[in-house]
Amino acid sequence: MRYETERTRRRGHADTATDTLARGLGIFSIALGIAEVVAPRALARALGMKGQEGLIAGYGVREIATGIGILASKDPTPWIWGRVAGDGLDLATLATALEGRNPKKGNVGIAMAAVAGVTALDVYCAQTLSRETTHPLPPMQDYSDRTGYPGGIEQSHGAARDFEVPRDFRAPEAMRPYTQPQAPQRPTPSM
């Protein structure tokens, strides 16, 4: 679990939203990995990558390992960065399937778009987690009772209206009508 930093509105709060996203990515990793391990042949066929079944199954093992890492570790951050690296590998591998005369190019394109979408989520999640702290910030000092008014604010508000502002500190007389909209006794200045 990571915590929001000083500079956010929810300073010091556990960032459960990003934590949930990380878990989601972990489960997704495992699900995709199982598909790759169990049905490498079907996948290879769909992508026009015959002969690469072994590679696909290998990637599946990687996905499962990363997924378990995310779900089992205390701090998923390095594992999510691992997913980002894996995404890169997946995209590079898929890109090779675009070369030559692959009749399933359309499917490869769809797969690449899907991986790119997940990559964006992975990067977002990893960056957010890296920015945050591993330990909750100490609770913010509570100064809501530091009014400074021993008798309460109602009693102090305007208590110094008796103070006579010295002449050299007064606002210029000519400016007053402009800053006091409610002073009807003053002539409206004409241009």
Partner: protein, 390 residues
């Protein structure tokens, strides 16, 4: 004695130094019972303000007990008197002192010729604040020599605590003068940039003087919290557009009175939204440090007032003087004429209108001072005001 000594940028140490001596018949020596670190000290700590020399003793917010009095100060002070020492050293006799313009006293700056070269005229001598203002050793120390002591003191009663009285030396009158400079009307909205100690005092002063609405702008959550406790509506400039929110809160008209209690080390907002860009265009600004002055000039209601207690040292770039001139704004600024206000403010503390001790968040010994400079500068641990007990 022990004292906090400046050695260079962000290098302040608690050193052993010689005890101060009476050097002039008008001097007095006080044993410091409490002193504080001020935002102005941070400009020296960060070395934004030129004119410090290695070995200078810091501090200009001190109080204590008189332990020695020079022959010419004897009529006004005696050993055992409890006094708060204003940060401005005053002669009490020159033309400016007679008018109550104590921070521009013509006589107390012994390096007046240097100040005159920089500013055209001399200004008052200040404790622990660069050789431009006299190079007088400061009061973050066990003992303090007070020059012109017959005038430079505020006598205080034994019925109130150090914590309630200490800030008469600087930040309370500074926040007060900032508000008085606004000549507050009961219909006024007063917007205050910076919720540091000076801003906190300005908020309370504006409330005491009866402002309709007080708005505080900062980005440190604890400081905004304390500002709300004082009766202010708050704007976090990291999260919201200051200009937009101020206009919203004033029916699009802008605040009548604006106070800059940030000074030369202002930070620009991190969120760059459309409104902010409009200001940027209108004022041709770059993200430089008189950021607050620019923002105030832009948002202030025409014919309003800009009050600037925040300290500036030299030349500022890209000040939108066109906005200031065409909107007919009044600018009032200056180091605080502390003694001009302290009798009145002491009475208000005694009457319970205000208790300035609310602002203290940390109290430590002198030897922890160097660490506290850093904590205060970085606003760690909810630090707002540090009191040191020598």
């Amino acid at each position: 004695m022990k004292a906090l000594v400046w050695h260079g940028t962000t290098d302040i140490r608690c050193d052993s130094v010689p005890d101060p001596q009476i050097e002039h018949p008008r001097d007095a020596i006080i044993k410091v019972t409490s002193c504080a670190i001020c935002g102005s000290d941070l400009h020296l700590y960060d070395h934004f303000m030129p004119g410090m020399k290695s070995g200078d003793i810091m501090g200009h917010e001190s109080m204590g007990e008189v332990v020695e009095v020079g022959p010419e100060a004897k009529g006004k002070l005696k050993v055992g008197d409890r006094v708060v020492i204003p940060f401005t050293i005053i002669c009490g006799e020159c033309d400016q002192c007679k008018r109550g313009n104590f921070s521009v006293c013509e006589r107390t700056n012994r390096n007046g010729h240097i100040a005159a070269k920089a500013f055209g005229h001399t200004t008052a001598g200040l404790f622990g604040y660069t050789h431009l203002t006299g190079g007088y050793p400061g009061g973050q120390a066990e003992y303090l020599r007070v020059p012109f002591a017959d005038a430079t003191h505020i006598k205080v009663p034994s019925t109130l605590s150090d914590e309630q009285l200490l800030f008469l030396s600087d930040i309370f009158p500074t926040g007060w003068q900032a508000a008085v400079q606004c000549d507050i009307e009961p219909t006024d909205t007063v917007a205050i940039w910076g919720a540091g100690p000076v801003g906190q005092m300005a908020i309370r002063s504006a409330i005491l003087l009866g402002a309709k609405q007080v708005i505080a702008i900062d980005r440190v959550p604890e400081r905004l919290d304390m500002a709300r406790a004082g009766g202010a509506i708050t704007i976090n400039f990291d999260e919201e557009s200051v200009i937009e929110r101020l206009n919203e809160l004033t029916n699009g008209k802008g605040p009548e009175k604006c106070i800059d209690s940030v000074g030369m080390e202002a930070h620009a907002a991190g969120t760059v939204d459309a409104m902010y860009d409009r200001v940027k265009q209108a004022t041709m600004m770059e993200t430089d440090r008189p950021h607050v002055l620019r923002e105030m000039a832009y948002v202030c209601r025409p014919a309003g007032t800009l009050s600037v207690p925040g300290v500036y040292g030299g030349l500022l770039d890209k000040i939108p003087f066109g906005a200031i001139m065409n909107k007919g704004l009044t600018i009032r600024t200056g180091q605080t004429h502390v003694n001009r206000w302290t009798d009145d403010l002491l009475r208000r503390i005694e009457e319970g209108q205000i208790d300035p001790s609310f602002v203290i968040t940390h109290t430590v010994g002198l030897d922890e001072g160097p660490d506290m400079y850093k904590i205060f500068r970085d606003k760690q641990d909810g630090c707002i005001k540090v009191v040191l007990k020598p």
